[in-house]
Symmetry: C2
Subunit: 196 residues, 2 copies
DNA sequence: CTCAAGTGCGTACTACGGTACGTACTACCA
DNA sequence: TGGTAGTACGTACCGTAGTACGCACTTGAG
């Protein structure tokens, strides 16, 4: 039974938001037309109407996720005026004001996982990673950018498993150390530690 | 129709190996009794005989994965005689001889993912993480251990998405920097970079 | 008022997957 | 030889899920 209105422009967005909610709460594996439909309170038929198949729905949801999260931490980094400010931006992105919530981290890891079975999502992930690296490289050396990128991800993963928050000071010093040590990344290595 | 032999002690192991193979190739989401049965070349009925339900099968597979991988990188770390050797062990575990293959990394990330929907696997993951942290803390400060742990994971994740190998020298210097900077982790911070 | 186009939806079809259950076959004891 | 316990397996049942398809309802032209 039609609602009456000939079109509902919010419906598509509602579905996308519900999709991300389901992905975050139950994982992509549990993300079915029916479950999303229930969550968004739209009939099943609407799902296939707006998104012809399930993969399209999921890819669209992940796209919107990226558009939401990327700027959140890319912008402060872009605007940092020196390395110290940049490190602060990294700390904030890892566990501070601009960092994703655990729910968002979960969505992110689900996207990474789904990339293994969807070429389109794999492409998406690669774009996100490239963009992230690109932003970091404007600020740091290539080596530092790569290390920092990996460390951010590692800490996000940690956060998704533990309730105890990260020690901000350790995070700060870790990023600072990477940035300083890898300021130039032409192999040289002051790394030996204390040789025997 | 029975095979004739009253018992086949290898069968259970074959099933477990096939399970990990399926998980690595197609992901846990695609890990079904039938698929594993086909892969292990055992009849479907055997599956439920050896593993009463699917979760038990998957948990068992992940347990065996952990028992395989943990010692691989924990042992060299435990045997390191100084920080320099320890850093070398970390490099080897990240991208060298003792590092997991991409296939194994995939299995590992699938385990992490599955933890979100299985309390038993979540417990497993936490045990693995604790054990890993424990090993690192014998060698490094708490802060360094946490940072190193996160960075390893970040780089493994990177490897699972990219064919180009990691630059070993950058990896070495990154670990070295973390270990040196966080040698004591009572907040002090030589982190300011170059203040303006 | 009639009709055609297009939007939105209800439903049914088919496939797949977990699991319960019964069955065959072996080994061993009396 | 008969019987019983336990191992291993074949199959059928039921639920869930993606998707195809066609029906309603609105709108606007004539």
């Amino acid at each position: 039974m039609r609602k009456g209105r000939p079109n509902d422009p919010q419906r598509r967005d509602r579905i996308l938001r519900a999709t991300l909610a389901v992905i975050g709460d139950e994982g992509v594996h549990a993300t079915s037309y029916r479950r999303v439909a229930a969550r968004a309170e739209v009939p099943l038929g609407s799902m296939t109407y707006y998104f012809t198949d399930l993969e399209t729905l999921i890819v669209s949801a992940f796209e919107s996720l990226g558009q939401t999260l990327q700027p959140l931490y890319a912008n402060p980094l872009r605007d940092a005026r020196d390395d110290a400010e940049a490190v602060e931006a990294l700390v904030a992105a890892t566990c501070g004001a601009t960092s994703p919530s655990r729910h968002e981290i979960r969505q992110y890891t689900e996207m990474y996982q789904y990339a293994a079975r969807s070429a389109r999502v794999a492409e998406l992930v690669r774009e996100f990673q490239d963009e992230s690296l690109h932003v970091l490289r404007r600020r740091f050396s290539d080596g530092a950018a790569r290390a920092v990128d990996a460390l951010i991800w590692g800490w996000w993963t940690y956060r998704s498993f533990h309730d105890t928050p990260l020690d901000e000071e350790i995070v700060r010093r870790a990023f600072g150390a990477l940035v300083a040590e890898l300021a130039d990344d032409t192999s040289s290595g002051s790394t030996e530690g204390e040789p025997t």
